[in-house]
Amino acid sequence: MRLILFDLLDEKRYHFDPLALNRPIWELRCGITSLREKLVAAAGTADVACFVPPYMADFYREQVDLPVNDASQLTGDDLLLVHPRLKAHKVGDLAEGPSRVVADAEGRTVAVRIERADLEKLDAGSVEALLDSARAQLPKGDPAPPSWNYTWDLILENPAQIARDFQALGRSGVEGTIEEPKAVRGGPADVYVAPGARIHPMVVLDASGGPIYIDEEAEVLPFTRVEGPCYLGRRSMLLGANCREGNSIGPMCRVGGEVEESIIQGYSNKYHDGFLGHAYVGRWVNLGAFTSNSDLKNDYTNVSIALDGKRPIDTGSTKIGALIGDHTKTSIGTLFNTGTYAGAMALISATGKPLPKFIPSFAWFLEGVVTKGFGRKKLYETAQAAMGRRQCEWTAAEEALWEAVFQMTRPQRDPLIKIGRRMLAAQRM
């Protein structure tokens, strides 16, 4: 059987922005691993191909060793097409049995099982055609399975998912080093320190509330307190951090200050003090000293987020912080309001008070307003410099992807730039 992951442009894809602007949804992290890693493990096959929005295909090909947008993968074997919104624990049920189409509660297709014999009667010319013909010709199967609907679903599920992933990975004990004096709370089976990982003296690992997984070559510096469930990714560092429960920190991050129930995709820095709670932070983000986000409203009502900058969506939770896209940088002292959307490739300068709840991608947020700033080319130069510091290359395909994102996000940004101009003019009067 071949697993076909599909993430196509549709009217709800923006539910995962700004993180999904430049990556397939299945690359988002929840728990210890990405959604893709969970889906592939659950499907139990190494034969995997994927279909992504065309504007990101060239860049994604550089990132993974998988066939990307290759229609020849749609023939020759039993297929299981899976959308990343489907929760992985349901994939095993779909890997066998007759051909059928599975939709979520809103009727959107999240999986299609196609037996090889049935492929002949379907249109396998493209993944879109295959999905359309499957919906038209195959029976509906399985009641609506649980699915991810928004980025904040991943944040809210993260603590429990870390615990499940920890159990699934089946690792525990210390293969790296923990220097004395050490303080480890909880059972020895609840902590895993991978080879090459180093826990400095005077670090507290409190696994009494959930497991702690410190991945290879990660480093935890003195006076850090790590509360499980927690995942610290490869070569990431905690610097005197108050790392409270429910954090997943991807590879190559530098994290200090207080962090709670947050996901950091990887390669991002929050080096200094400041609070990050119930947030999802993309890659190559730099949060300046004392950058903080609120994750709880003073009236304890549900947090809402306007993912398109216009219509607030009730998250259903009283605790959600900020969603911060890749390559966004904040100045010292930035204060994010509860439920803030900070787009990708934005440069944000503090104002001394909580910022607007929607800051579009590619915004130069200065003097309290959205401006064009020095333009996107300057942002690309900065991205290139940041990536070079971690021996990562900025490629032509990546720039082309961001150019597409720049155009896609214009409708959100341009009106705010015009408002910003008027506000700046009014300030000068």
Binding site: S349, W364, L366, E367, T371, K372, G373, F374, G375, K377, I417, G420, R421, R422, L424, A425, R428
Partner: protein, 80 residues
């Protein structure tokens, strides 16, 4: 709009944004070296010119303009 009107309005905006007196502003005045524009003020200047003239300026091209006379030429071409 004729060039003199463009120039007059460019000088007015420059004085407002950078807080300088009109007599300091000559066509050859460099925004940074002569008029003391800091980086964020350069961004404000572009925004202010767009607002004043009701135009959209390509930020890379606009920020490459470094003198008052250059701004008059650049904006003059856009409002023609």
């Amino acid at each position: 709009m004729d060039r003199s009107e463009v120039e007059q309005r460019v000088v007015k905006v420059t004085c407002k944004v950078l807080g300088v007196d009109p007599e300091m502003v000559e066509p050859e005045s460099h925004f940074v070296f002569d008029l003391g524009a800091e980086s964020t003020q350069s961004i404000e200047l572009v925004a202010a010119f767009e607002e004043e003239f009701g135009i959209e300026m390509d930020e890379d091209a606009a920020l490459a303009v470094d003198t008052v006379g250059g701004a008059v030429d650049f904006i003059g071409a856009l409002v023609e």
